[in-house]
C-alpha cells in the first residue's frame, strides 16, 4: 500500500537525518565547549580540533580491494530503491478497456468515466464533476472510483452525496456488474461573490 510505504520511508529518512544531525550537533557543541556534557564512553566521534572526516582512515579503506565494488553496488541499490519509490507514486488504473464477462462486450474505462461524470453533473447542486475509475481484471474487488465534485452555490452536500451514490455510482456498478465501486469523493466549491439581501 502506497500510503503506508510513503510514511514508512519518510520516517526512516527522517530518523537518519535526525540521527546524523544529532550526532554532528552533539560533537560540535562539545568540541566548541558550549556545553559541559560528559559524553558516555561508547560515544564515537571527532574530538576538539579533529577534522570531521578522517582522511587517513578513508584513504586506507580506499586501498582495500573490496572498497570500490561495495561503494558502487551500494549506491546502485540505493538509486534503484529511490527510483522505484518515485515510480510507485504514479497510480496504476488497470487496462484501458475490460472485457465484460456477462455481456461479452468490451468496455472502455474512459467511456465509463465520462458517463459517470455526465450523470453526476445532472444532479441538482453539482456544477461540475470528475471521475477517475480503476478497473482491474478479476473485477469486483478492484473496482474503484475517485470523484471530485464541484458544488454550486447554495448546494446541500449531504443530499448531493446521496444522489451520487444512488445515481452515477450505482449505475456504474450495475452496468459493469461489479457493484458500487469503492469510492472516495471530494467535494469542492468554486469561489463566487456572495449575494447580499438589501
Amino acid at each position: 500500500m502506497r500510503n503506508v510505504l510513503n510514511r514508512l520511508l519518510i520516517v526512516v529518512i527522517g530518523l537518519v537525518l535526525l540521527g546524523g544531525g544529532g550526532w554532528l550537533g552533539v560533537n560540535a557543541l562539545v568540541a566548541r565547549d558550549e556545553v559541559s556534557w560528559q559524553l558516555p564512553s561508547w560515544w564515537r566521534g571527532p574530538r576538539a580540533y579533529d577534522h570531521l572526516v578522517d582522511r587517513a582512515a578513508l584513504d586506507r579503506m580506499r586501498d582495500q580491494g573490496w572498497w570500490a565494488p561495495v561503494v558502487i553496488s551500494g549506491l546502485a541499490v540505493l538509486f534503484l530503491l529511490f527510483l522505484f519509490w518515485l515510480l510507485a507514486q504514479g497510480r496504476s488504473r488497470g487496462p484501458a478497456s475490460l472485457l465484460l464477462r456477462r455481456s461479452g462486450g468490451r468496455l472502455r474505462r474512459g467511456a465509463l468515466e465520462s458517463a459517470v461524470t455526465a450523470e453526476a453533473e445532472t444532479l441538482p447542486g453539482v456544477a461540475g464533476a470528475r471521475a477517475r475509475l480503476t478497473m482491474k481484471k478479476r473485477g469486483q474487488r478492484r473496482f474503484r472510483a475517485r470523484m471530485t465534485v464541484v458544488l454550486e452555490p447554495y448546494a446541500e452536500p449531504g443530499p448531493v452525496l446521496d444522489g451520487l451514490v444512488h445515481g452515477p455510482l450505482k449505475d456504474a456498478g450495475s452496468s459493469t456488474g461489479f457493484g458500487i465501486p469503492a469510492t472516495t469523493v471530494r467535494m469542492r466549491a468554486t469561489g463566487h461573490r456572495g449575494r447580499r439581501v438589501r
Binding site: Y49, P159, V185, A189, V197
Partner: protein, 219 residues
C-alpha cells in the same frame, strides 16, 4: 459530547465512526525520492567513470576537499547539524500525523463510499447563507477542524435579532452539510460604521410583529 442548543454538534450514537482521511504524503515522498535518486545517480556516475579511467568531476573534488578541511568546531558544522535535525523532525512529524486537515469527513452514505468536504466549500456555503440574513453585512467565516468562527457586521436592525437569525440560519445550514462531525459555530456580530439604531416608534407601531426587519427581508 454534550448537546448545547446554540450549535454544538448533534451526534447520533448509532452512526459508524467515519475514518479520517490519511494523506498519502505524496509531495514529501516525491521530493525525497527525487533528491535521493539524483544524489545517488550523480555520485554513482562519477565513481564509475573514475573506475574506468576518468577523472573525478570538479564538484566532487571541491566537496571532498571542503569536508577534509572541515573541523568539528566550525560554525558550519553546527548549522548543518541544526538543519539536519529540523528537517528530520519535520519528516517524522509528516509521517506520523494524518494530514489532510482541510478535508472534513462526511457521514458515510453506505456502501464502500467515503466522502470529504473541503474546508473552503464549507466556508463558502455558510457565507452565502450568512449574507442572506437581513441586516447582516460582511460575514467573515473561518473554518477550523472542530469550529467555525463567524464574524459578521450588522448594517441595520437590532444586532441581537440579527445574531439570533444568523445563528438559526447557519445552524440549519451546518446540519445540512452532511458532515460526520458538524463543527461548533461561534458567531459574533458587531454594528458596522453606517449602522443606525432602529427607530423606536416604528418598533412600537409594529405591535405584535416583533422583528419588522426580519419580516421585511423574507423572500
Amino acid at each position: 459530547m454534550s448537546q448545547v442548543p446554540d450549535g454544538r454538534a448533534v451526534e447520533s450514537p448509532s452512526a459508524p465512526k467515519p475514518r479520517r482521511s490519511w494523506s498519502a504524503r505524496r509531495a514529501p515522498a516525491v521530493l525525497c525520492a527525487l533528491l535521493g535518486a539524483a544524489a545517488c545517480a550523480a555520485v554513482l556516475y562519477d565513481v564509475v567513470s573514475v573506475r574506468f579511467g576518468g577523472t573525478p568531476s570538479p564538484w566532487r573534488h571541491a566537496l571532498l576537499n571542503h569536508l577534509y578541511g572541515m573541523s568539528v568546531t566550525d560554525a558550519l558544522a553546527v548549522v548543518a547539524a541544526a538543519v539536519l535535525v529540523v528537517v528530520g523532525l519535520w519528516l517524522i512529524f509528516l509521517a506520523v500525523t494524518p494530514g489532510a486537515r482541510k478535508r472534513a469527513p462526511m457521514k458515510p452514505p453506505g456502501g464502500d463510499v467515503r466522502a470529504f468536504l473541503d474546508r473552503s466549500a464549507t466556508a463558502l456555503l455558510l457565507r452565502d447563507v450568512a449574507l442572506e440574513v437581513p441586516g447582516a453585512g460582511d460575514a467573515k467565516i473561518r473554518v477550523r477542524r472542530r469550529k467555525v468562527r463567524v464574524r459578521a457586521t450588522v448594517r441595520f436592525g437590532d444586532p441581537t435579532e440579527v445574531e439570533a437569525e444568523l445563528t438559526r440560519a447557519l445552524t440549519s445550514k451546518r446540519d445540512g452539510l452532511g458532515l460526520a462531525r458538524p463543527p461548533r459555530l461561534a458567531i459574533r456580530v458587531r454594528p458596522d460604521g453606517d449602522w443606525t439604531p432602529p427607530v423606536p416608534e416604528q418598533a412600537e407601531s409594529a405591535g405584535s410583529e416583533d422583528a419588522p426587519m426580519t419580516a421585511g427581508g423574507k423572500k
